[in-house]
Amino acid sequence: MANEKREYVVRTKDLVKEFVMGDTVLRALKGIQLDIYRGEYISIMGPSGSGKSTLFNMVGGLDKPTSGTVFINDVDMAQLDAQELAYLRCRTIGYIFQSFNLIPVMTALENVVLPTVFAGVPQDEGIERGIELLNMVGLGDRLHHKPTELSGGQQQRVACARALANNPAIILADEPTGNLDLKTGKEIIDLLKRLNKEQGVTVISATHDLKMIDISDRIVWIRDGQVERIEDREDVELRVGVMEHEEE
């Protein structure tokens, strides 16, 4: 599977993040090295408090690392100023959160159109794009519903559509199924996989949902702020099968 010609889309180098809480210093990330190829579906797995979300925030440019660097498309994020960072967040990365983070007073369509507004897309074009995306995630009939009028799975699908609004190269999903039941969680996972397959979007998903493993290209296991191991899907398939079997 190791193909030398594949280009990296995300690379991290000695990534360290410390949180200062009063007198104690909490080391959430202790030197993470991670290379992610374009078009890959990566799952970052690990128990709670292992640093998944912190890593996710670093990669997404939502927080600054204490030391180390993150490269997106070979660009060092630390070198970017606020405007460039905003450009990156707007067009290169799409975010999906565990708690959806839709803007509560806006309708599904308005939520999806918002990133295109920030990208300076003309209004008509943005709305057209928003409708197209919502149709794609199967919410074509719920365009004008507020988030509170939608179920959890529907809200997360709106969030997926929003993440795709500006055709990003990367989708960062932080526990996208964390607040969903098994069935709707499965739907979201299928949706992400479909996007990955059909549109060639790189999907990086922090999760502890084992169903994710089934469809991931690679799984990054994180424990205690460090990469424990990185596995290809073929290597873990058997084990997942066992676990799913156990669940049933």
């Binding site: 939502l62 927080d63 498309n73 070979d74 660009v75 967040r89 067009r91 803007i103 920030f118």
Partner: protein, 538 residues
């Protein structure tokens, strides 16, 4: 890593045009309308309170009191209100030179060769008053002369006097009423004579017949349908004009059958209250009717009759006064104005006369008020020069006390504080509860500046709208309250310019506080990494 070249691949997010920000913030305000209303409520209350205090401070101009011609009044923190003459005495020669007729000066001259301008001004007022009253009294006389005789007749009837048939017919009593009542009176006399003859109280046949006759003639006077067979005994001869009847009988007829008489005369005959409007319709001059009714709406005919009798005296009195003061009408206006200007005393003169200016008098804010005249004198800043204001006839000089000024400053400061705390609190709350939204917007590519701009626009619009409303409500509230409790004169005395100033003060403060209270949390939220903003839970 070849950073330099690759970095070019990342563009720079551009700030959205202002129009777009305006669109988004307007939409946001509309979408979260009720939440915005609550926030705006905080601003509104603060500004309304501030406006109440500011408006209150506009009502410091006292309402000028009416002072006698030629005088000014001093009140406030001086020993007791006092009236002082506004002009210094004028030398006789100077008066003549200014154009005052000599015979006028002769009337008002004092022994020391001067005269008081106030006497002339007062004489002019008296002359005007006398003319006005004379005109009124003459007008009234015209109306009264028409009702005078009849009124006297009916007032007389109310006293149960003997009335002549001839007079009654002249006063408008129908012939049959007057004549039948006269016969009735004659029969009654016969009956009384008959009853005087019987001793044991038993009535004779003749007495009974006389009673029947009385009933018959009373019925006749009331114009009832009578058959010839009803007539008892032989018919009596119609009486002449000099025959008399009783007033009380006429009153009975009027009470039973008032068709032929107007309300004024029926009221007089029955000694009842007469309505002012009825009286005016029956020819009583309105001025007199109103005067007699006083506070109420009715009056009695007796006092009206007295007024009619006194009317000639009043006419003579006003006639005499008008003639006596006519001389003052010959004084040219310009002459009086020239002398008034030359002899006007200054504020300093009057305050020196008043002498006992209290310890805590606020000499920075001495006010001179008159109809349409408002002058402020600041003795603390300008010293004696402040008192060089030349006074005018009827000026009110008001010396406020220092404490009220301190109270006002204290109140304004307090209200500003309350206003600031109220507005800051509601704006802080409104922004901090949207931290998560700010984080989300930044994830979606919003620039920090844009987020701040959005929030400033939103709160700015809200601030202006709520402040305007707050000002309107606060102002109206204060004006209505002050008008209802302390009189509308006080409200009318407010200067339009000053109101405008409070308007802009209130709007300015409202907008400023709103923006200041918004920019801090909005900037804080925009500056923090999105991860942290997203994590915040309110």
């Amino acid at each position: 890593m070849p950073n330099g070249s690759a970095k070019a691949a990342v563009g720079r997010q551009t700030q959205l045009p202002f129009r777009r920000a305006l669109e988004i913030s307007l939409k946001s305000l509309r979408i979260r309308f009720w939440r915005s209303m609550i926030t705006a409520g905080g601003i509104f209350l603060g500004i309304a309170f501030l406006t109440v205090v500011l408006t209150q401070s506009l009502m410091q101009w006292p309402v000028p009191e009416k002072v006698d011609a030629g005088y000014v009044r001093v009140s406030g923190q001086v020993n007791g209100p006092g009236d002082f003459s506004v002009w210094t005495p004028v030398k006789i020669e100077e008066g003549i030179k200014a154009g005052i007729p000599e015979d006028v000066i002769k009337r008002v001259a004092a022994e020391d060769g001067t005269f008081s301008l106030a006497d002339i001004v007062q004489g002019q007022i008296q002359a005007k008053r006398a003319d006005r009253n004379l005109r009124r009294v003459r007008q009234e006389a015209k109306g009264l002369s028409k009702i005078k005789d009849k009124l006297a007749f009916y007032v007389n009837a109310a006293t149960d006097a003997d009335l002549k048939v001839g007079d009654a017919i002249k006063a408008g009593v129908p012939r049959y009423v007057a004549r039948n009542l006269a016969i009735l009176a004659a029969v009654r006399k016969e009956l009384e004579a008959e009853l005087a003859k019987t001793e044991n109280g038993r009535e004779t046949k003749r007495a009974k017949r006389l009673r029947a006759e009385m009933d018959f003639y009373l019925a006749a006077a009331l114009d009832k349908n009578l058959k010839p067979s009803d007539a008892p005994g032989r018919p009596r001869k119609a009486p002449g004009g000099s025959a008399t009847f009783k007033g009380s009988d006429l009153a009975d007829v009027v009470r039973e059958q008032p068709d032929w008489i107007n309300p004024l005369y029926s009221g007089a005959a029955l000694d009842q209250e007469i309505n002012v409007d009825d009286a005016v319709r029956c020819g009583v001059p309105r001025t007199i009717a109103k005067h007699l009714a006083g506070e109420g709406k009715t009056f009695k005919a007796g006092p009206l009759n007295d007024a009619v009798k006194a009317h000639d005296t009043w006419m003579r009195i006003w006639q005499r006064r008008s003639e006596r003061n006519a001389i003052f009408k010959t004084v040219p206006k310009a002459a009086v104005a020239t002398l008034a200007r030359a002899h006007a005393r200054t504020l300093n003169d009057i305050l020196a006369d008043a002498r006992n200016v209290a310890e805590d008098a606020d000499l920075t804010n001495v006010m001179v008020v008159n109809e349409g005249r408002k002058v402020k004198a600041d003795f603390a800043r300008d010293g004696k020069a402040a008192g060089l204001v030349r006074l005018e006839d009827g000026d009110n000089i008001y010396v406020p006390d220092r404490n009220s000024r301190y109270r006002m400053i204290w109140l304004v400061v307090m209200s500003l504080l309350v206003c600031a705390v109220g507005i800051t609190n509601s704006m802080l709350m409104a922004v901090t509860e949207r931290y998560k939204e700010i984080g989300t917007m930044k994830c979606l590519g919003a620039l920090d500046k844009f987020v701040v701009e959005l929030f400033m626009l939103e709160s700015g619009m809200m601030g202006i709208a709520a402040s305007i409303l707050g000002w309107v409500v606060g102002f109206l509230l204060m004006v209505l309250l002050a008008g209802a409790t302390r009189g509308w004169d006080l409200v009318a005395n407010i200067q339009g310019m000053a109101v405008l100033v409070t308007f802009f003060e209130a709007i300015g403060i409202g907008l400023l506080l709103t923006l200041v209270a918004t920019i801090a949390p909005a900037k804080r939220a925009a500056d923090m990494p999105p991860a942290m903003a997203l994590r915040s839970e309110i």
